[in-house]
Amino acid sequence: MTTARTLKLNLGPQHPSTHGVLRLILELEGEKILSCEPDIGYLHRGMEKMAEGLTYIQNLPTVDRIDYLSGCFYSELFCRTVEKALGITISEKSKIIRVTLLELNRIASHLLWIGAFLMDLGALSPFFYAMREREMILRFFEKLTGQRMMYNYFVFGGVRKDIDYIEDIAEIVRVLPEKIEDYEKIITDNPIFIQRTRGKGILKPETAFNNSITGANLRASGVNYDLRTTDELYKGFEFSPVVLDGKDSWTRYKARIMEIKESIKIIEQGLDKLKTCGKLEQKLINPLNIKLPEGEYYSEIEAPRGLASIFIKSTGEDKPYRLKWRTGSYYSINLLRELLIGEYLNDAIAIAGSLDIILPEADK
């Protein structure tokens, strides 16, 4: 037999579904993928190096930009680390506010993912439907923080100001479940969608462990690993982590849909608590002369795209000596090397889409 001739295909960076930020070097035989080499860095902004030149309060507005779809999580992570280093405890109400906003942010992020994933599969409408619901959440954030995506709302020791427009959150929580039902009708039971995603992109737990996959991708492979269950911040909130045992793209989709429902539950509890806990009382520290004591600080959180963590090494100055982020997407991109082999080109897009890869988060 003669050796088959292969085709090297540069999927991206100039490609509609990688929109200029991800490059996959694929080796194709026909439409079958023989190897995949992800190439990232098109959105690298040097955020970690930049952090070394900025004081802590100057750093605070930049951390939202790690992941523009779930900025709250990185704010929270950064604030939490500084608070831990300085030994500040935050008030009960600001904890509740933080949890509520985090979960709202998670829903917004998942909604965008649903739209983008279906767009990758070639369905038009779900993208607009998802954007419509996301818009409600962004409007609320805009009212509250003045920003639609980079909120800069969490500060060291609490939140910037007391929460307002609670009725907007109540409205979101009221409307969303109906809309999720609509999604389930148009997407989940769609035979073409099932055909495109069922049994495609099987992620075995061992592969996931070897590639440090976390978040919904891991939970859709049947591993019960949700940091929120052990998180101090989420204490007092009732919810159950979504663990599904399908391992394929469809399950990852389903897991995210169910996670939205879980998040709605958390927000509802947060709303109940917010109504009873009165005015916000918090003692903010003077942010202009924050100096972290010498040492190494680490904290982690369950972000929409998996475990996100931060590591700060301080030498006792007003700027971090070294700041390192760990984000979920980076590992998901690396996973493509293994996951795409043997798949066909049009499945490759669907599988890559199902992993919820956000490039700014990976490139930082």
Binding site: L124, S125, N190, R196
Partner: protein
């Protein structure tokens, strides 16, 4: 048509122009009319599609250029006209430039052989159903040519997908058309339409005994037009733009134009095959019902026929656009499997069924009554 021919010849001989000239030009004029109509149809179709897609996806669609966005497609067409035509340096220059022109010829011809109303077909042949089938399968060749000549990997994959798709969906189409031809005992589109005439209007249409065939044909038409959910040759999220990735300006516009013209032609063909073409759904024509047998009615009835045909085609186009807004894209292998494993056996069954139906009823229920 003969009447028009004599009128034209008389007009020419009045001015002493030789008959030969008339014989040649008489067949060119219809094509000029088709070309003009084509542009209008495509401009309209693109606007309708964008508006409908907008509404189906909670948007407004184009609404800035002109009243209600009416001039939007015109503006887009103008933009495409004045854009630079780029030929990639590594492309096969001759074939690259040839493909958009080649894609256009069969599309123009197809619109010329369709009976828009009784007595009015530009080119009428006794077996124009066959001619139609050949002509609509033709554009995919030029599509492949364009994809191949672009020397772009995405274009190549898109072109290969296009060929595979059209090849496998042509077969069920042929079987379905065969069953309709059996029912009508005619291979002429006008003959097929007339065979569907009955006093009970809608009940004479072949869409009723041939409902399986109608559904199969509809699906196949989607595939042949590269429409969603079969838009693999130009799958945006996978292949950028498929076979026409490298095309720009007027050449891209020609591909685009032929795509929508084919959509229109296919919708009309579907309504001719299954929905009675230009026949009224009420049996008798409205103009006859209202105006009686006056000479005015005999003229207006032609316009009514065109109206019915376009209305039926528009309904089909609406469903096609609706599907585009709803369904995700199929995977390439499922697509081929679906055609060979599901549609082909079904279409053969449909043919068998219609033959039995014809034998048993003698064609009494459809037509002739």
């Amino acid at each position: 048509m003969n009447y028009l021919y004599h009128l034209y010849m008389e007009f020419l001989s009045k001015y002493g122009i030789p008959e030969l000239f008339g014989n040649i030009t008489f067949y060119i004029i219809p094509f000029c009319i088709v070309a003009a109509a084509l542009l209008i149809v495509v401009l309209g179709l693109v606007l309708i599609e964008r508006k409908l897609l907008g509404w189906l996806t909670q948007r407004k669609g184009p609404n800035r250029v002109g009243f209600w966005g009416l001039l939007q497609t015109l503006a887009d067409a103008f933009k495409l006209l004045i854009k630079e035509n780029i030929t990639p340096s590594k492309a096969d220059r001759f074939l690259f430039n040839l493909a958009p022109i080649l894609v256009f010829i069969p599309v123009m011809t197809v619109l010329g052989i369709i009976p828009y109303c009784a007595e009015f077909t530009f080119v009428n042949t006794s077996t124009n159903v066959i001619l139609y089938l050949i002509l609509v399968a033709f554009p995919v060749l030029s599509l492949f040519l364009g994809g191949w000549a672009s020397n772009n990997k995405y274009s190549l994959i898109g072109a290969v997908r296009g060929i595979a798709q059209v090849l496998s969906y042509e077969v069920p189409i042929t079987f379905v058309v065969l069953s309709v031809v059996t029912l009508a005992s005619s291979m002429n589109m006008t003959g097929i339409i007339l065979a569907q005439y009955s006093r009970y209007g809608i009940f004479g249409w072949f869409g009723i005994p041939c409902i399986i065939g109608f559904v199969i044909m509809f699906i196949c038409v989607l595939a042949e037009l590269n429409r969603c959910p079969f838009d693999l040759p130009e799958a945006e999220s996978e292949l950028i733009c498929g076979y026409n990735t490298e095309y720009s300006g007027m050449r891209f516009a020609l591909f685009y134009l032929s795509e929508y013209a084919l959509l229109f032609a296919n919708a009309i063909f579907l309504s001719i095959m299954f929905l009675g073409g230009y026949l009224s759904p009420f049996g008798a024509y409205l103009s006859h019902l209202i105006l009686g047998d006056s000479s005015l009615a005999s003229v207006i009835v032609y316009f009514e026929q065109v109206f019915w045909l376009i209305l039926k085609a528009c309904l089909i186009i609406f469903v096609i656009i609706w599907i585009r807004a709803t369904l995700p894209r199929l995977a390439s292998f499922d697509l081929l499997k679906f055609s060979w494993a599901v549609l082909l056996p079904l279409s053969i069954f449909n043919l068998f069924f219609t033959v039995v139906y014809k034998f048993v009823t003698g064609g009494a229920l459809c037509g002739l009554s």
